[in-house]
Structures are given as structure tokens and as C-alpha cells.
């Protein structure tokens, strides 16, 4: 199959050897689980349980609300002890509405009958069941999978691109999943193809994972419409936009969707979750996570329940030693710093990374931009990071936008290569946040005007009503006087 190239990209040290040969271990169920109600793009789920209620494993905890939303389910059986705020796995440390579940140690599943033949179901039904299972994209944006599938079916995509690239350094969860559970992934792919009514699927795996390639090839051997494609390993080949470019040479239109090119991208983990949901009626309540980094005593890949705390995972891996200078959720290129270890893992967590100072290269301090242009070379989106960051630095938000700020995918390639060690991505995140804040402020001004006018209108109405009432009373008085005068 002919492959194309994507622009830019960098070659960070892979560091996958720390955990690539560790088979998936199941994390022992922690005693408490904290399940956030928002683990996806879209509107948060609303609680469907009460404090004090006992729940079974897989029972609905939070119901999706609105068009773009996802449900959350109980990772184990037990009792609901709290519904309220808990620290979000986010750098700000701000709270997130979370349901806290105390495990009863029984791990009792809620009985559910899986469909006997999912392929006999209507595509909409398959998508609906995927939605009921609370499945969201497990590779990045965490978009509700059912909505994505339905929209893609309507857009008549012809190819499902299954993303097994895993281009982030250190991360090996998808690699292990492909090596150990290939048949389940392929089954999930078949189910998704049925939901999409699409003819073909392509599994893209980077060339630094030969075992995974072999394993997946063996699993889809009998299928002629599902094939494995080996893509060159270069970051960010696993980014959806870049993957589409590699497979088809086409570019997702700016402001448009990937499905405009006829291709839908989904992570291998999502395909696996679809298999579990339709074959075993298990909702999405656990996932594979790579716990790794120079500061972790025993790096490995864990199958952990959603809602387990980061400290539970780290403890199982021998603890993160004192030498941790960066604790991240995700890989080193796009990972989020965590405010501490008492935060829950969510559906989109692919890894916990505890880096030592040497690994994170903390000693480098930024210096002025020398306009070398390496960032322009590295940008996979064809942007000019040096110009955008210069304008962001001077709060020229419109100027930064003019250079394509909204098209930035925050992959970090530019900051990776910058010889002056300028925190380019942080400038872009700041500028984007400031632009959104500005938009909100402008909306507020419009709202204020509208409310003021409403207020004035209401007062005017009240005045008019008073005046009319007074006029009527006057008229009645005159009438009454006239009557008395006539009668007299």
C-alpha cells in the first residue's frame, strides 16, 4: 500500500525499552475509587446514583446528557460514599465533580446479556450500545465514540484507520495490547466497521514495534478488508491529522473533520473496548496504562480500573523515588503535569510518567530566539512557531491568530528542537486561553447590554401599567361623579 509523508516531525529518544517487554499486569482493586463525571469532550455526565447506594460492577454511575456526552460506570461493586468535588488530574489542581466509591471487595458484576450476534443488529444499535458503554476515544481527545461513529457513518467514510502508532516516547500500552490481545482488537474493528457500514480498515503501527506488527498481522490474516500498515516511526505520526496524511496524502480541511477525507481514526484501545462492550456487555471501566520513567522503581504496563488514584498505580510499581522532578499524565511530548499523586486516572490516561531531572532536562534556561527556523522545519502543521510565540509574548493575540494559532495541535515538536529552549507550546496555550477569555468577555458585554435593555423595558412596562391604571381610576372617578351629578 502506498504511503505518503507528513510534514516536519522530530525523533525523540523512544525510551520504550523500560516497559515494552513487561506483560500487562492487572492492578489489584484499590479500596476507594474516584470516578470523575467528566472524562470526555462534551457535557459532563449527571449523577445517576445517590450517596449511600450500593452498586454492582459496571452499573451506571453518571448518565450522559445532551448530544455530545458520555456515561460513566462503576469500576467495581461497593457503596457510593461521596458525590462532590475531587482534585482533577489536571495541572491546575482545580476540582471536578466526582463520584467516590468504596469497594466491598466482592467485585460483583451487574448482570447484562450481550447480544448473541452483534452483526445482526442495526448499525445505529451497535453505535447506541457503544455509547451506553461509555466508550470514548482512548487515544487523545476522548470524544464520545458513539457520536463519532454515527457522524462518520452519515459522512459515508470508506476506511477505518486504527491507530496503533503510539508515537509518544515511553508509552507502550498500545504496543502490549496489540501483542497480547490482538484477536479482541480485530473483533472490535469488525464491529466498528459494521457500525460504520464502511468496507475497509487499516491498522497503522510504527516500525519500532515489530512484535505488535506480527501479532496484529496474524490476527487479521483471514480478513481481506482489514490490513496492517507499517508506518515510519517519527513523532507525531500518531496524530490523527498526520496519520490521515500518511495513509491517504490528503489533509483534513481546517475547521473540518477527519471524516471529510473519507477516513475515520480510532485508537486500538477504543477498538478493544468496543469488543468488550458488545461481546461481554462490559462498559468501559478499566484500561491499560504504562507506568514508567527513570524515577519509577519497576516500570510496567497495568490494567487499572478507572478511578484508581495515581498513587495506587505508583505504589504497585515500587513507588516513584525521591528523584521525581516531573510527574506527568501522558507521554513527555504532550503529557500534563499532575498536581500530586492523589488524582484519579481517567478513560484518556495512557500513561503515568515519573521523570528524573536528567530525563526532563530541567537545567536548561530559555534564551532569546535566534531565528534559526528549526521550529518551522519541525512543525507538522506548517506553522511558524517563532512568529506565533513572539506575538503571544507581547500579547498581540490577533497577530498570533493570524499566523495560524488555532491550527496548532500542541504536539510539542517545535519546543523539542528549539536551541534556545523557549517554552513555545506554553505560549500557544496561553494565547489560546487568553483569546477564549477575551471571547467570553465580549459575550458578557453583549449579554450585559441585552440585560440592561430588558431591565429598561421592564421598568417602562411597569410605568406604562401604572399610568394606565391611574388613568382608568381617574376615568372611573369622573364617571362616578357624573352619575352622582346626574342623579342629583
Amino acid at each position: 500500500m502506498k504511503l505518503f509523508d507528513f510534514w516536519g516531525g522530530v525523533h525523540p529518544a523512544g525510551q520504550k525499552h523500560l516497559s515494552a517487554e513487561q506483560a500487562i499486569q492487572v492492578l489489584p482493586m484499590p479500596s476507594r475509587l474516584h470516578v470523575p463525571l467528566q472524562q470526555h469532550t462534551g457535557r459532563p455526565a449527571v449523577p445517576a446514583v445517590k450517596v449511600g447506594q450500593t452498586v454492582r460492577k459496571g452499573q451506571l454511575l453518571g448518565r450522559e446528557q445532551g448530544g455530545v456526552s458520555a456515561s460513566v460506570h462503576a469500576p467495581t461493586s461497593g457503596m457510593i460514599v461521596a458525590i462532590g468535588d475531587f482534585t482533577a488530574p489536571h495541572v491546575s489542581g482545580l476540582p471536578l465533580p466526582t463520584i467516590t466509591l468504596e469497594s466491598d471487595g466482592e467485585d460483583h458484576w451487574l448482570e447484562r446479556e450481550p447480544p448473541s450476534d452483534p452483526f445482526a443488529l442495526e448499525p445505529e444499535d451497535v453505535a447506541a450500545r457503544i455509547g451506553e458503554a461509555g466508550i470514548v476515544g482512548m487515544g487523545g481527545a476522548n470524544f464520545p465514540a458513539a457520536v463519532k461513529l454515527s457522524k462518520a457513518r452519515q459522512a459515508k467514510v470508506h476506511t477505518l484507520a486504527v491507530n496503533g502508532a503510539e508515537c509518544e516516547p515511553y508509552m507502550t500500552c498500545d504496543d502490549r495490547l496489540m501483542r497480547e490481545r490482538a484477536e479482541h482488537i480485530v473483533d472490535g474493528i469488525r464491529l466498528m466497521l459494521h457500525a460504520l457500514q464502511a468496507p475497509n480498515a487499516v491498522i497503522a503501527i510504527e516500525d519500532n514495534k515489530p512484535e505488535a506488527v506480527a501479532s496484529m498481522k496474524a490476527a487479521c490474516q483471514p480478513e481481506r478488508h482489514i490490513r496492517v500498515v507499517v508506518v515510519p516511526s517519527r513523532y507525531p505520526a500518531g496524530s490523527a491529522k498526520q496519520l490521515i496524511q500518511i495513509l491517504t496524502g490528503l489533509e483534513t480541511p481546517a475547521g473540518g473533520r477527519g471524516t471529510d477525507t473519507g477516513v475515520l481514526v480510532h485508537n486500538v484501545g477504543t477498538a478493544y473496548a468496543v469488543h468488550r462492550a458488545l461481546r461481554q456487555a462490559h462498559p468501559l471501566i478499566s484500561r491499560i496504562i504504562t507506568v514508567t520513567g527513570g524515577a519509577v522503581a519497576r516500570p510496567q504496563n497495568l490494567e487499572a480500573p478507572i478511578g484508581a488514584l495515581v498513587e495506587d498505580l505508583l505504589a504497585f510499581c515500587g513507588g516513584a523515588m525521591e528523584a521525581t522532578s516531573r510527574l506527568l499524565m501522558g507521554g513527555p511530548m504532550m503529557g500534563q503535569p499532575l498536581p500530586g499523586t492523589r488524582v484519579p486516572i481517567v478513560k484518556g490516561t495512557n500513561g503515568i510518567l515519573a521523570l528524573t531531572a536528567a530525563e526532563a532536562r530541567l537545567e536548561a534556561t530559555p534564551s532569546p530566539c535566534i531565528r534559526c527556523g528549526r521550529c518551522v522545519e519541525a512543525c507538522p502543521m506548517g506553522l511558524m512557531p517563532l512568529e506565533m510565540s513572539k506575538r503571544a509574548r507581547h500579547d498581540d493575540l490577533d497577530g498570533a491568530e493570524a499566523f495560524g494559532l488555532i491550527d496548532c495541535i500542541s504536539c510539542g515538536s517545535c519546543a523539542y528542537v528549539c536551541p534556545s529552549h523557549i517554552p513555545l507550546v506554553q505560549y500557544f496555550e496561553y494565547a489560546r486561553g487568553a483569546l477564549e477569555a477575551r471571547q467570553r468577555a465580549e459575550q458578557k458585554v453583549k449579554e450585559t447590554r441585552r440585560l440592561l435593555e430588558q431591565h429598561q423595558a421592564r421598568l417602562a412596562r411597569v410605568e406604562r401599567a401604572k399610568a394606565e391604571a391611574a388613568a382608568r381610576r381617574q376615568a372611573e372617578k369622573r364617571q362616578a361623579k357624573a352619575k352622582v351629578g346626574a342623579a342629583a
Partner: protein, 368 residues
């Protein structure tokens, strides 16, 4: 300064500014050493004075501007400016040429604009142009090589007199560069067939055994250093190749039209510091465009200007002027030459997917 918590990415390539500068200095070292050996102790004195002046001025300016001195002084940029400036000076120039040049390069050429990364013009070339225009006599005093430790080379003490006192017997030592010689002779209506023999041989020119500035004679060593930098990915090929190719094409074209009036490409490539300019001076990242296409335009412009100035301009050698002129055009090039954004047209609008392109990437029934 507080940077933590910082956002992603939390990994970094091993590159840094001091490392890049260090690699460039390493690449230019062979040519520098060769030039010093070729022209003796006075050349070494001038070299040291220039570098010292650059570093001193940088330190003073940083202190005056309230910036931290150590990190900027040690990042290698002032040192590199000093080396490149020294390499473009006449080898036996008096010490004050080096000192004034260093001062001009660092203070006027770099710090006044705001320090590293902010200057518009290449500091070394700006200083050279200023020196050439202000002190034409001292800046055009070329001489034949007098290698270190050879019989007619000055000893160390004598060299101190030369650098700090002035050349005692100027007429006995001065000679012309090849380009200078060509220009004067052409001006006297002689032809190249008569001018070149005896003064120019491609072999010796390539090996650097000709009159010229301190570092611009050792073309082969400069070329090797430049190629090494390309291999180490310190810079990309666009500027040097565009510059040299343009000179080659123009020189070749005009030479084919009239071999007696226009010098051959070999003469141009091997003289006047063109190699140094192509690989070490025009490639300065701060003053050259950031995009690849922009760099090609910049290189071509430099090459064209070099040829025009050398052939029809007022000075026999034009690299410094050409580079400074193209530096002025760099902001314009950067403004108009931008890469196309993914998913957008060249005008910046959303780029729709053409219908016929939406064919399946997997051929129906094709086996893996």
C-alpha cells in the same frame, strides 16, 4: 525566573545555542589556523585583539543593559562574531582596526538592536563594511603570504611592532588580491588572457597561497568545514548552495559570452572570501530568513549581488556588501514567504478535499 509547572513538552533535543556556536567555531578553526600560519605572528596578534575587543564590548554592553552577563558572554556568539570579523580583515592590519571593528560589530551591529537574536545585519559584515568605508587604505593593504617560521616572516617581537606600530616598509610587502588585480588591469583595458597568468593559478588559489584576508584564502578548508556543518545538521544546504550556484551560473554565463572580460567561475569561487561567506557568514540564522524557500531566495540574492558588485561595482570584492544588503531584505522575505498551513490554501482559507481524491486507500481485495 519561575517556569514550573511548565507545560509540555518535557523532553528536549540535545541542541542548545552554545553547542551550535561551538560547532561552528570548530568548523572554522582549521581555516583560521591555516590563515594564521600563512601570515605569521602579526596575523595572530590581530586575531587576538579582535576577539578580545568583541568579548569586552559584549560584557560592557550587557552590564549596561542590565542583563545577566555570564550566560550571554559564554554562549559563543560574540566569540564567533570576533572570529569571523578577524578572518575578513587584512592580515597585517594595525591593532586599532581590529578593536574598532570589534566595537562596531558588537555595539552597533548587535547590542544596540537589543542583543542576540534582534539584530538586522550580520555584525561582522556590518563592521567590515564600516571599516572599509572609513579606513580604505588600511583595509586594502594586502600582502603575499609570509608563513610562520619561514625566512622572510617577521619574528614575534617584530610582529608586535607591526601590529601596534604599523608596517615599517609597506611597499615592500603589499600586493593585490586576485580580484583587485583583475579590476585594476581590466580598468587599464588589458584582457584576462594577459592578466591572469603569473598571478593566478587555480591550484594555489584553492590551497590558499594567495594574497587575501586572514581566513578567506584557504577555500578548501572552509569548504570542508562548511560541509561538516551540513553533515552535523547545524545548518541546512539552502543558503550556501543557492549562493554558490548563483555565482557559478552568472560567472559561467558571462564568461562564456566574453572570456576576456569576465572572469571564470573558478576564479570567483576561489577568491574574495566567497566560500567563507557562503558557509559561515550568509548562514547566520538571526539575519537570514527562517523558511527554506526564503533561504534559497536569500542565497540567490547574495550570489547575484556578489557577482554584480565584483563585475560592475565600485569595489573589487563584494561579499560583505552583498550580505548586508540581503540582510536588509530578510524581513521582507520573511513576511511574504510563509509555509502553507496544513488543511489550508495558500491564501489561508480552509482547503476542501477534492471529491475524486476520496478514493479508498486500500485497493479492493488487495492482499497484504
Amino acid at each position: 525566573m519561575s517556569l514550573f509547572p511548565t507545560s509540555a513538552p518535557h523532553a528536549h533535543a540535545p541542541d542548545s545555542v552554545p553547542r551550535l556556536m561551538g560547532l561552528v567555531l570548530l568548523a572554522v578553526a582549521p581555516a583560521t589556523l591555516y590563515g594564521i600560519v600563512l601570515f605569521g605572528w602579526p596575523a595572530l596578534n590581530l586575531f587576538l585583539v579582535t576577539i578580545l575587543a568583541c568579548l569586552l564590548c559584549e560584557a560592557v554592553c550587557l552590564r549596561l543593559a542590565g542583563h545577566a552577563v555570564r550566560p550571554f558572554l559564554l554562549d559563543g556568539s560574540a566569540l564567533l562574531t570576533g572570529v569571523l570579523l578577524a578572518l575578513s580583515l587584512p592580515p597585517w592590519a594595525p591593532w586599532w582596526i581590529g578593536a574598532v571593528g570589534g566595537f562596531f560589530a558588537i555595539v552597533i551591529g548587535k547590542q544596540v538592536f537589543g542583543g542576540i537574536g534582534q539584530n538586522i545585519f550580520n555584525p561582522a559584515m556590518l563592521a567590515r563594511v564600516a571599516l572599509l568605508v572609513s579606513f580604505p587604505v588600511e583595509m586594502t593593504l594586502w600582502l603575499e603570504p609570509r608563513p610562520l617560521f619561514s625566512s622572510h616572516a617577521p619574528g614575534f617581537l617584530e610582529s608586535l611592532t607591526i601590529t601596534f606600530g604599523g608596517i615599517p616598509d609597506i611597499d615592500a610587502v603589499s600586493g593585490a588580491t586576485i580580484l583587485g588585480h583583475i579590476r585594476t588591469e581590466l580598468g587599464m583595458a588589458r584582457e584576462l588572457g594577459q592578466i591572469l597568468p603569473g598571478h593566478y593559478q587555480a591550484g594555489t588559489a584553492a590551497l590558499g597561497w594567495t594574497g587575501g584576508s586572514l581566513g578567506e584564502t584557504a577555500d578548501l578548508l572552509v569548504l570542508l568545514g562548511g560541509l561538516w556543518l551540513l553533515w552535523r545538521r547545524v545548518m541546512t544546504w539552502h543558503v550556501p548552495v543557492a549562493l554558490l550556484a548563483t555565482v557559478l551560473v552568472l560567472a559561467g554565463g558571462f564568461n562564456w559570452l566574453n572570456p576576456e572580460r569576465f572572469a571564470s567561475p573558478a576564479v570567483h569561487l576561489l577568491s574574495g572570501g566567497l566560500m567563507l561567506g557562503a558557509f559561515f557568514i550568509a548562514t547566520d540564522p538571526v539575519t537570514s530568513p527562517t523558511t527554506k524557500l526564503g533561504q534559497l531566495i536569500f542565497g540567490a540574492g547574495c550570489g547575484a549581488l556578489v557577482y554584480i558588485i565584483r563585475t560592475w561595482g565600485g569595489y573589487p570584492e563584494g561579499v560583505a556588501f552583498a550580505v548586508v544588503l540581503m540582510n536588509a531584505a530578510t524581513p521582507l522575505i520573511d513576511h511574504y514567504v510563509r509555509p502553507r498551513i496544513y488543511g489550508r490554501t495558500w491564501r489561508g482559507q480552509s482547503r476542501p478535499v477534492p471529491e475524486r481524491a476520496k478514493r479508498p486507500p486500500v485497493g479492493s481485495g488487495e492482499a497484504e
